[in-house]
Amino acid sequence: MKRILLAACLAACLAGGLFAQAVASYKDLKYPPLPQVKIPEPTTFTLSNGMRVFLLEDHELPLIHGLAMVRTGNLFDPPDKKGLSEFTASVLRSGGTKVKTGDQIDEELENMAASVESSMDETSGSMSFSALKENGDTVLGVFKDVMTSPEFRQEKLDLAITQTRSAIGRRNDDASAIPDREMARIVYGPATPYGWQVEYEDLLHIHRDDLVQFYRRYYFPKNIMLAVYGDFKISEMKEKLEKLFAGWTVEQPPVPKFPEVTAKPAPGIYFAEKSDVTQTFFAMGELGGTLRDKDYAALQVAANILGQGFTSRLLSQIRTKLGYAYDVSASWSANWDHPGTFTIRGSTKSQSTTETLQAVRVELDKMRTAEVTPRELDEAKDGVLNSFVFFFDSPAKTLNRVMRYEYYGYPKDFLFQYQKAISAVTRADVLRVAKERFVPENLAIVAVGNPKEFGKPLSVLGKVNAIDLTIPEPKSDTKPESPKADAAAVERGRALLKRAQQAMGGADKLAGVKDMIQSVDMAMGGTKMKQQNRWIAPTTFRQEIQPIGIVAYSDGKSGWLSMPQGLLPMPPPVLKQAQGEIFREWITLAMSDRDSSRTVAATGPNAVEISSADGQSARLEFDAGTGLPGVLIYKETGVGGPPSEIRETFSDWRDVDGIKLPFKALIEQNGKKTGEASVSEIKLNTGIKPEELSMKPEPVKK
């Protein structure tokens, strides 16, 4: 028995635990030199039609991949057709070829578990394919057809436009994506190809023919580089490609240079409000440099010490020490051909927003006032140098790099120059470049969050500029097929409106109305409210809603909003709604033909579209029998919500001082009933004064 027990004990001890063998400290480990990295050498040549080709064999898996770079980019988008290049790239693939629709190509490729894709970046277009070796030839054929004879079928452009329109509508949903986007607009300038973004308006101007023209201008053999790697023999692939592309010989003049960056620093604090988040997302940035910059290596080291990886100063201080953020980083993102940005970005709980921005600033200043420690410098350099081998851990990376260097005109040994430059960076270099290039005075600080939960207000840091996230409606969207141009439609529209004026009591009577007070009982959803609307011609408006206790006032240009929580200047989206209300004020709307800033055009036998120079519009539908305007349709952008179509149907017309006005309205939103309004009283020409309307409510005493 004893012996067995001892044996069990021994086994347990050997298995570890009791006499755990001591291991050395990591400091005592010795590292043998890395074996020499075998860097594969791609085969490069030019096809007879002028296309540059880069080939590399890789026989590990039975796959073949290809990647083409086309010298174009979304920097070449026309200013009124922003997004054109991306539509071209996407419909190039989805729109099919002369002989096959895009849907047929989808099926064909997926039956082989293969892919052919096309996309657009800032300074290049790309096309790629991936295939199992056995289908290599077939897929290569599809790839070539898509590249050389796209059909750009209209239905796929329509789909792409629908998709993009929805994406624009959703661009503010994810708060974390907003700061980078807004920062780019501020740093590069919103009117330049580097800073602008695609809007609804652009989508109205992009037609199939634009795509065809864009394609013709940029997709030609001499303007394309093609890299193919995988399980094939170089000699065979070379022959195959030569044969495949031999018939494609179109030519175009060389593509011009990309536009210069013309941005000037736009420092300041920019803030966008978003009420549905518990965190503030921020980005602060200024113009950076290119990869050619003589200080690129030193800037990279400096940015790494400040804010890359778990050991950086920003992460140590703001995440580890202060616990303010999960995520905070700094980056010097240099581009190949135009200046990138120096950016610090992160997120923090709403309460610590201002403190976090202050803490970031402290770390930035430290980088600029004292040399980093020798240990920091060594570790940052070691991090780059010791991981250098990962630049060569797959043939695809090597091939991609070789092609990119040639595309952007970089020397072949650029990576090794960079390695040398990193080795040479000193502490003095880091301090110098931080002083020269990390300039706090130039930083645009963009934050998105819920200011009601901020501990300290942002204004502690300086003047705060509001960012309006409202997505601009297209100017011409509500006017189907531009009625403005059609004189006959204008003629008919005016006639319809005149008939309505007559039915309501006559144009002179209507013109004589100088003010109106309207009391309304509203039922929206399950909620009942009382509304009082007061209006003085032409544009003074006040609305009070009980029992919620909301008062809104606007003179058409600005206004204020009083809510139980307090009084505030009218935020831009609410002001937009108020301006809509003023535009649609009964009397003014009915008399639109006398207002030179408004256009009235018939859109049907009993319908007119009324639009104003400042972008408002509404549609009136008239009762064929009485001529009265029975239906009012307009678009409204909710606060932070998607634009929706509101339809109001009027009934119960009663006489008020000789003018016929509706006393009942049914309200529908996007085709669904959302409310009913019943007017209890309308008073005209009461003589109320503008001061009465603009009077702010007494603050509630606690």
Partner: protein
């Protein structure tokens, strides 16, 4: 390596490619139960490491949701030898923090009779105790060693059923990895616990509370599951996180981070014999311990559709989930195939119908098992409506597709396409060290054998159109359905 081509052919030939791959894989288990999978790939002098711990948020004790994730963060805080300026003093100061915290908790537990002044005093004392301990910390030393030695891709993740730690080193740093990884799981130090707790809370704010989709998924899971821990997202609830105590994380670690519960994958330029020697030297030190318990709660049968609305000013979003069995069900392969038929690539029925042809959705798709698969889970659909199109419209259209799949059998060409796609997907998984290390670990832990990565293709080959129709009819039913959708908040202001 031409043999891979064979993987495309069904039947016997396929088995040969598995045998060929087996030559590259070395598998061994230490006496303490820790399992290793070594995959040789000598293309470049780099190695990827993956530590797969068979523990996840399903194992969080009640009131401590998120503690598995919290420990994952603590695993980067170092050891006595790594990360301390003065270990004896630091150890004493860490113990002191807990004493003060115990006092504070004791007072708080008096509830209405607690003395606010005492609480305030205790909180001040706690703050001082934490500051004292922080004075001994060598910030982020563990990370610093990895990064300065050329480690790339270092991170970790906590899911419902697993916790994963991973990064890659140049080939000459293999031993450094063995040292660092074994040290952190042999005797981790829970330093800076209460600051990291704030960081973890921030992570939840970022991933869930400030993300419209995060909020919707959280509501979907909490509604769909009545009892099983899949009902809580891996991050846990905010109030649980706010009240984590260090001993709770330590208890969790002791119970679940036992060597038999850990599997390690190493892929790249590595010599298996060398790796085994180092595994024994470094990980052999971890004492053997019993395997942790499994989750005992079984989700009761759902008896009717559930719906949940989430107020969100963001654009509308819809998630529809049906109860399905775990990944161990004989129907698992058929459900995978069904999901691919519904939403794979550009030929998936949902994409074709909702996005391409009707244009009522910006995006739509399905996931065969959600949020994970070890326990009975969900078959998930999601839809992002296009502008001007409603959730109702999309929901209806989606149900029509589901009904269609139940009524009409899919054709042979579709089944054949899905098989090819699943095969090709496997081949494409094999081209990176980090992917191989992680996949082999995952299959080994979840199915007892990494070979299932290959052999499951045979199961896919056996799935027929009848099977697809049958599983659609069995599981995509109203009684097992949960629908989560966004609604616009009620608006004030001008009409």
């Amino acid at each position: 390596m031409r043999v891979w081509l064979l993987a495309l052919l069904p039947g016997l030939l396929f088995a040969q490619s598995l045998r060929e791959f087996e030559k590259k894989v070395t598998e061994f288990t230490l006496p303490n139960g820790m399992r290793f999978l070594i995959i040789e790939r000598h293309e470049a002098p780099v190695v990827s490491f993956h530590t797969y711990v068979n523990v996840g948020s399903v194992d969080d004790p009640s009131g401590e949701s998120g503690i598995a994730h919290m420990f994952e963060h603590m695993a980067f805080k170092g050891t006595a030898a790594i990360g301390s300026k003065n270990w004896p003093k630091e150890r004493a100061s860490l113990a002191h923090i807990e004493e003060v915290y115990d006092k504070l908790d004791a007072e708080k537990r008096k509830g209405f009779r607690a003395d606010p002044k005492k609480i305030e005093a205790n909180q001040a004392e706690l703050k001082d105790a934490i500051a004292t301990a922080d004075g001994f910390v060598e910030e982020n030393e563990y990370d610093r060693i990895v990064e300065s030695n050329g480690g790339v891709g270092m991170n970790a993740s906590t899911a419902e059923d697993s916790t994963n730690y991973f990064y890659s080193f140049p080939e000459n740093r293999i031993e450094l990895w063995f040292l660092l990884e074994s040290e952190r799981f042999l005797h981790p130090v829970f330093r800076e616990f209460y600051k990291e707790r704030d960081v973890v809370r921030e992570e939840r704010r970022m991933r869930v509370e400030s993300s419209p989709q995060g909020k919707l998924v959280e509501a979907l899971l909490a509604t769909s599951f009545a009892a099983h821990p899949y009902r809580v997202m891996p991050g846990g609830w905010g109030s649980d996180i706010d009240n984590f105590r260090e001993p709770e994380a330590e208890q969790f670690y002791k119970k679940y981070y036992t060597p038999g519960n850990i599997t390690i994958g190493i892929a790249g330029d590595v010599n298996p014999a060398e790796a085994r020697r180092m595994a024994e030297k470094y990980f052999g030190r971890i004492p053997k311990a019993p395997l942790p318990p499994m989750v005992r709660t079984v989700e009761p049968k759902q008896e009717g559709e559930k719906r949940v609305a989430v107020e969100s000013p963001a654009q509308p979003f819809l998630a529809i989930a049906y109860k399905r069995p775990s990944q161990y069900s004989p129907d698992d392969a058929a459900l995978d195939v069904l999901s691919d038929i519904l939403s794979g690539g550009r030929t998936g029925l949902i994409y074709k119908e909702l996005v391409r042809d009707k244009k009522i959705a910006l995006g739509a798709g399905s996931q065969d098992t959600f949020p994970s698969g070890k326990y009975p889970a969900l078959f998930l659909f999601y839809v992002i409506p296009s502008q001007g199109h409603t959730l109702e419209e999309n929901e209806k259209a989606l149900y029509a597709i589901i009904e269609h799949v139940k009524k009409e059998k899919v054709d042979d060409a579709t089944i054949a396409r899905v098989r090819i796609k699943l095969r090709a997907a496997l081949i494409r998984k094999l081209d990176s060290n980090s992917g191989l290390a992680s996949e082999l670990c995952s299959y080994s832990v979840n199915y007892g054998d990494w070979r299932k990565l290959f052999t499951e293709l045979e199961e896919y080959d056996k799935v027929t159109a009848d099977d697809v129709q049958r599983v659609a009819k069995t599981y995509l039913i109203e009684n097992g359905r949960t629908v989560a959708y966004t609604v616009a908040p009620a608006e004030g202001g001008a009409k």
